[in-house]
Amino acid sequence: MSATITTEMPILRVEHLSMKFGGLVAIGDLSFDVRRGEITALIGPNGAGKTTVFNCITGFYKPTEGMIRFTGREGNEFLLERLPDFQITAKAKVARTFQNIRLFSGMTVLENLLVAQHNKLMKASGYTILGLLGIGGYPKAAAESIEKAKHWLEKADLTDRADDPAGDLPYGAQRRLEIARAMCTDPELLCLDEPAAGLNPKESLALNALLNDIKANTGTSILLIEHDMSVVMEISDHIVVLEYGRKISDGTPEEVRTDPRVIAAYLGVDDEEVEEVLIEVGDEDVIEQLDTGPDADHGPEASSSMLAGPVNDTVVHGNGERVTVEKGAGKAAQVKPQQAVSSPAARKPAAKAAKAKAEPAPKAATPAKQAGAAKAAKASPASKAAPASEKPIPAAGKGKEAGISNRLPAARGGKADDLQLIKGIGPVNEKKLNAHGIYHFDQIAAWKKADIAAAEAYLAFDGRIAREDWISQAKVLARKAASAPATRRGGRK
């Protein structure tokens, strides 16, 4: 986090927040700040716990652990986890909207905005008694509340529909009305749960304008959950990224966008872009762990993004770059950037990320077992029977088994061929093959049936080498390599 340390307290400081539902940890030890007068976005894949965080902040859930400290404009402090939900809005001035719009659909637009000013009007009406008797300043307060409602109607572009039932408005207008209603409570912090969900691009732009206007003119800080990257990247000053209830990144939109953990978790980008980023970060560990798992036939298409989930939503965000937002599972938990090692070979891990779901942790934990497993795999080359957890990993291989006939102790001339040029071999497989003494195309080209079986045992593949015809690919490449220096496949953008 590159936040400049200000003397002013952040408006909201979430410290070590945990929320457990039975055995399920929805949020685990989450800490972040929402700075005053800024728009902070909370993003993350579906099920990351964003709405749970909102429900904790706005009192709809009582967090299992942690502290949510709210500091008002006048320096008044509230611990939100200790307040009942309605007092969080009434006293601490935190207003929220809902993911599934919750308007008072049978009341008019104007009435919706008047209900939002309940507490002020309640005081003015002497808790109903004076208002009922018609004494006191209620009429004046009522007129003021209508003026305020008018102000927000104008901002939300709803003046023409003020006397229509809220349930009769189109979807985009309902979203704007919900924001206007929340603003009528005079909040210091406005929490918006997916304000752009279901909006068309034009309505999204109008929403951006409304939020920027709120930020500029009212001094209200905004915390928002959003999936629409065009909104998030455009308007937020600060982004917090969650995955599986844990914070994986926190910073400005620029920082977050280039954070490999975020990319892995959430922002699928074009293969080339990921390549670039990962080379920059150079994370060998990631690549090792990601490039295992089921083969392409059973997994997503190689062309789909690393996060390949069922829903694939491509949007054009502010800078005109293409960002593919994945609604599928994120993979950031497996990314450990602190182990970064420069590795120019790291390439195209993205396509494999989603496949790597299952086993990295158990594998790393039991190397000894895996060594044995490799033997078992060799004994039964069909390896179908080998349980998934017993797949060999390169660290355990060490080339001790005499599986493949034409192994070399080291690459000829100290320079290995780029085995990834063979379709079907990724960085991890390349590493594995290298560990087993396979460095060159001609080695693969010379494989016999037994070698293939052995290699498949190492790689925990069955039938893939034959199916993808590595041998003939390798033969072609070997010829090429003999005639000209190897060229890299693909290339930078």
């Binding site: 709809f60 207003a95 049978g106 008019t108 009435e111 109903t128 009922l132 006397d163």
Partner: protein, 521 residues
């Protein structure tokens, strides 16, 4: 020629369909009624239970069902369809049935018939004998009703614009009209059985409307608050001799307190669960009244409840020195008290209505309606839903308490019999039929439901049709049920399904019932 043919074939197809439908209706009617009407158990002279068959009556019912269904399919349905079809030549819809029925020509006929029968009706009745005389009376009533309906129909726009003021004027003038028509003694029935009875239910339904219609909290035990109010006045009035005017607010406060006591445990309940707990609460109150004999005198009830006085200035007890006929020097009559009570309950109703209208425009009323629409959104806007619900329970219960103490004063006697679950159900039915949240609709529903059951007693001519054993008032629950079914089919959201907004910028547009929610309890 070709057109006539198609018309003919369409007609015959229609008749075939009508016959088929009639057969279905007859079969269904037969199976529905064979055990209800076809056979009947009776005790004979030896105290034995014998089975009596009534095949003739069953056949009548079955044939009636078939004929009605046939007429509906062959004539009514094509007619209704033709009403919606635009004339190809003029491009206009056909003149509506109502306009045709309420034409000037029919008015003249109606006026002539009504006038003639009013003048010579009695003479004709004497001439034709009691049997046909009853029909003459019926015809006279029908002619008068038609003329009144004609007036209402032709001024319908005016009436709908000024419905509240007109309704109020009508209610204020009602006893005057009745007394001038039937005299003091003759007006008793109309003022007491109709006027006061209906207005008590109007008040109860308006009170329940705050809880059910505005706050959306389904309360099946509302009669408990009615009972609390009635017993508060009965006990304090008989034991301490306190005046009605002190005990009315006391009874209201007592009921409100019980409203809050009920409210607390059910705050977290919604929908069916809330309904069941409130129902149980109503039963608990009734059972306590029955069993706490030392205080409530059990099922025997409390009698000798003091009458209401006109703020202590004018009394309605014959023995008092300030008895009304002594003060004004007029003849003694029990109807003065009834007329006074009528205006008292009218004033209480107006108070209820006024407070409800005022509350709706205050933040608390908007919060009730918001609570009905979406409780979670309410909390997100800083509304304390606990106190909002409790105020709804308390204020609704308070009006129930007022009505209860009035009831005790009017009857002079209370017993747990008056506070059974059926009363709660009737009050709730009135609220639902009237249209939840709408005062006018609820008042109309109360008039129709309570007045309708009362008017059955007046329908003695039905004895002409169904025989002298027929007692129409036994069928009031049937009427109640039938009316509910018809209204719910015709207007699923009640008489007045729309909702008046409490504030507007440019113009007040009624909110259609399809947007408002019923609440989740």
């Amino acid at each position: 020629m070709a057109m006539a043919e198609t018309k003919n074939s369409a007609g015959s197809a229609n008749i075939a369909a009508g016959l088929r439908e009639a057969v279905y209706a007859a079969v269904i009617a037969f199976f529905m009624f064979v055990l209800f009407i076809g056979v009947k158990t009776e005790q004979n002279i030896h105290n034995e239970l014998v089975l009596v068959t009534r095949w003739g009556l069953l056949a009548t019912v079955v044939v009636l069902a078939a004929v009605v269904r046939f007429l509906q399919v062959v004539y009514l349905m094509p007619f209704l369809a033709s009403q919606k079809t635009v004339d190809a030549k003029t491009g206009l819809l056909p003149t509506s049935v109502a306009l045709r029925v309420f034409s000037k020509r029919n008015l003249i006929i109606g006026v002539v018939v009504a006038g003639a029968l009013l003048l010579f009706g009695n003479a004709i009745q004497e001439a034709v004998g009691p049997y046909w005389g009853a029909y003459v009376g019926l015809l006279r009533a029908a002619a008068i009703i038609f003329v009144i309906a004609w007036g209402i129909f032709s001024f319908r726009n005016f009436i709908s614009t000024y419905s509240y003021s007109l309704g109020f004027i009508l209610l204020v003038l009602y006893p005057v009209v009745m007394v001038s028509l039937f005299g003091f003694q003759g007006s008793l029935k109309w003022v007491d059985n109709f006027g006061i009875q209906i207005l008590i239910y109007v008040m109860l339904a308006w009170g329940l409307n705050i809880v059910v219609g505005l706050a959306g909290l389904l309360d099946l035990g509302y009669v408990a608050f009615y009972a609390v109010g009635a017993y508060s006045y009965a006990l304090l009035g008989t034991q301490f001799g306190w005046s009605f005017w002190i005990l009315l607010p006391a009874a209201g406060a007592m009921a409100a307190m019980w409203g809050i006591i009920l409210g607390f445990p059910v705050l977290r309940l919604r929908g069916d669960y809330l309904a069941i707990v409130t129902l149980a609460f109503g039963e608990i109150i009734r059972l306590v009244l029955i069993n706490w004999r030392e205080v409530t005198n059990g099922a025997a009830g409390i009698s000798g409840i003091p009458k209401v006085s006109f703020f202590g200035l004018i009394s309605f007890n014959v023995s008092d020195p300030n008895y009304i006929s002594k003060v004004f020097g007029i003849a003694q009559s029990g109807s003065y008290y009834k007329i006074f009570l009528y205006y008292l309950i009218l004033a209480l109703c107006m108070l209820t209505g006024y407070v409800t209208i005022r509350l709706r425009r205050l933040p608390v009323g908007r919060a009730w309606e918001a609570l009905r629409e979406d409780e979670i959104a309410c909390r997100s806007l800083g509304i304390n839903t606990t106190t909002t619900k409790l105020t709804a329970f308390a204020i609704g219960a308070m009006f129930g308490g007022f009505a209860g103490s009035f009831f005790a004063a009017r009857q002079g006697f209370v017993s747990p019999e008056s506070f059974i679950f059926l009363e709660s159900a009737i009050i709730l039915a009135i609220v639902v039929l009237g249209g939840m949240g709408s005062l006018g609709g609820i008042a109309v529903a109360a008039a129709v439901m309570v007045g309708g059951t009362e008017i059955l007693r007046e329908m003695q001519f039905l004895k002409q049709i169904f025989g002298p054993d027929f007692t129409p008032e036994l069928y009031r629950m049937l009427l109640f049920g039938a009316a509910m079914v018809i209204v719910m089919v015709w207007k699923p959201r009640g008489f007045v399904g729309s909702r008046e907004p409490t504030a507007f910028l440019k113009e007040s547009k009624a909110v259609s019932g399809s947007f408002t929610k019923e609440g989740h309890g």
